[in-house]
């Protein structure tokens, strides 16, 4: 190899598709910067939740009253598995010449993600049935905003996946589509990290206290 290979975070295409790797440099970096800005957004929501879940219950339901821990656990498992399947999709993107594997893994990821969203909506519904609506207290306002913001991100990721599946169909595996898939992968894995924090600091903490 002539030049020192540059490794950006995420799966590098360098060893199989050098051209795409070369142009990916600023684009992936830019996307990382975006992810970091997004992470700040979540961090602020976490900090707000941290205070409101304790100080803002207003005599209303407390975390332990309304959280369905097993359900959250299953959601976590779904999302984690979807990260692994997206990993497999990335591998297919990098190493497999055909799109079949890629599409298979993406569709699987989509289903897992959709399952996650479905369960989350069910959880919300149950809470609302119990009267634990966001209008009830500061704690619930901040809970719904934090968790729903994550949910909206996942939903956006699902839409994005659909668009990319369409693009795979229309354009095939062009550099542009590849780079978009790589960005979606980063987005997806990052949402996982955010969820791990939600699971731990919202659900587990809420119930453990």
């Amino acid at each position: 190899m002539k030049r020192q290979p540059l490794l950006h975070p995420g799966l590098n295409l360098g060893s199989t598709d050098e051209y795409s790797h070369d142009v990916s440099e600023p684009i992936i970096f830019g996307f990382w910067v975006f992810l970091m800005a997004d992470l700040v957004l979540f961090a602020i929501l976490f900090a707000t939740y941290a205070s409101m879940s304790v100080q803002g219950q207003a005599g209303g339901p407390t975390p332990i009253d309304v959280f369905d821990l097993p359900s959250a656990f299953i959601e976590t498992m779904l999302l984690l598995t979807s990260s692994i399947t997206f990993g497999m999709a990335s591998l297919a993107l990098k190493y497999k010449a055909d799109s079949l594997h890629l599409v298979f893994w993406l569709v699987l990821t989509f289903c897992l993600g959709a399952g996650f969203i479905g369960m989350e909506l069910r959880d919300f519904w149950v809470m609302i049935q119990q009267g634990a609506v966001p209008q009830r207290s500061g704690f619930l306002s901040s809970f719904f905003l934090l968790v729903a913001t994550h949910g909206i991100h996942v939903t956006a990721g699902l839409f994005w996946m659909l668009v990319l599946l369409l693009q795979l169909r229309v354009f095939g595996r062009t550099t542009e589509v590849k780079l978009r898939l790589m960005r979606l992968a980063l987005f997806w894995h990052m949402l996982d990290i955010v969820w791990v924090c939600i699971f731990t600091f919202v659900y587990l903490f809420g119930v453990a206290q």
Binding site: G59, G60, D65, Q129, Q130, G131, A132, R136
Partner: protein
């Protein structure tokens, strides 16, 4: 000749500055003496604040004054076409200077920080003032656009008028029945926010009898500019007489009177109340924090 002209031009600007600053300072000090800001203190807190301010300015002058002196000199000495200063377009670094320009401000900030540390604890508004007498307790409630003062020990209340004892510390406990506001009596000391459902504290003292303006400093709508009150610092004897007169002659601050006060309005003149409904102050706070039923899991209680 030409030199003189360009010198004049080059120095015009800083010179004017220095002069106007001087004039300003003079004017300031004379006007300030007559003003009712903390700069003309009427109590130990405001006095400490003023001294702290002066201390900062003096210490900062050590690093700021050199700029005012050096800048005109540099502009003059290194102007285009001069023969005076050497021209070294690539001169870009010097360790001694570097150490100086990082070091000196760092030392100054160190000194200021030390001072800040001590003063902040010393002048913490929650901290009771050192005095032999027990402080006078006053509960202040911010409303739109008026201040309600309750004197729990005397069981009287006044609106838009504050009566305190000269020479005796006052301990305020403050809350708000509406939006966030900020309570301040400039000549006595600093301000503190008042917020619904919460209690903040402030300790002040007026050294001498007198009248001091107080106000809300945090914008809260149409009546903001009119939300002011007069503080009367009087002797203990006068204060006691006043309190007794109040309880004998003024109407009670009951729920009806309170409901009237709580409506947004600007009062034409201060009001007084001869007795205060039990637990009014805590009630105002509880309005925003308590009184909720604990929700049941099945939601029947919502």
């Amino acid at each position: 000749m030409q030199n003189v002209v360009s010198m004049r031009r080059n120095q015009e600007l800083p010179k004017i500055l220095v002069r106007s600053a001087g004039v300003l300072l003079l004017l300031t000090s004379s006007v300030v003496a007559a003003s009712d800001g903390f700069i003309n203190p009427a109590g130990p807190v405001a006095e400490a604040l003023r001294d702290h301010l002066i201390f900062i300015v003096v210490v900062m002058a050590i690093v700021i004054a050199p700029l005012f002196i050096a800048l005109p000199w540099v502009l003059w000495r290194y102007r285009l076409g001069t023969k005076s200063g050497s021209y070294q377009p690539n001169w870009e670094f010097s360790w001694p200077l570097e150490v100086l320009i990082w070091g000196l401000p760092a030392v100054i900030v160190g000194v200021l920080s030390w001072n800040l540390w001590h003063q902040s604890y010393e002048l913490d508004p929650y901290k009771p003032l050192a005095a032999t007498e027990a402080p006078l307790e006053v509960q202040a409630i911010a409303l739109d656009w008026k201040w309600v003062f309750i004197y729990p020990e005397q069981d009287v209340a006044s609106v838009n008028e504050l009566m305190i004892v000269a020479g005796r510390p006052v301990r305020f406990r403050l809350t708000s029945g509406t939006v966030m506001q900020s309570f301040m009596i400039p000549r006595l000391g600093g301000q503190i926010y008042t917020m619904a459902g919460m209690v903040t504290q402030l300790n002040l003292l007026a050294s001498e009898p007198g009248q001091f303006r107080g106000l809300n400093t945090q914008y809260n709508g149409m009546g903001f500019a009119n939300q002011k009150f007069m503080t009367h610092a009087v002797s203990q004897a006068d204060f006691d007489t006043w309190a007794v007169n109040m309880s004998e002659s003024k109407p009670p601050l009951n729920q009806t009177a309170w409901a009237q006060l709580a409506k947004p309005s600007v009062l034409a003149s201060p009001q007084s109340f001869g007795s205060v409904a039990e637990g009014l102050f805590t009630g105002v706070i509880a309005d925003f924090t308590g009184g909720y039923h604990h929700i049941k899991a099945d939601g029947t209680d919502l």
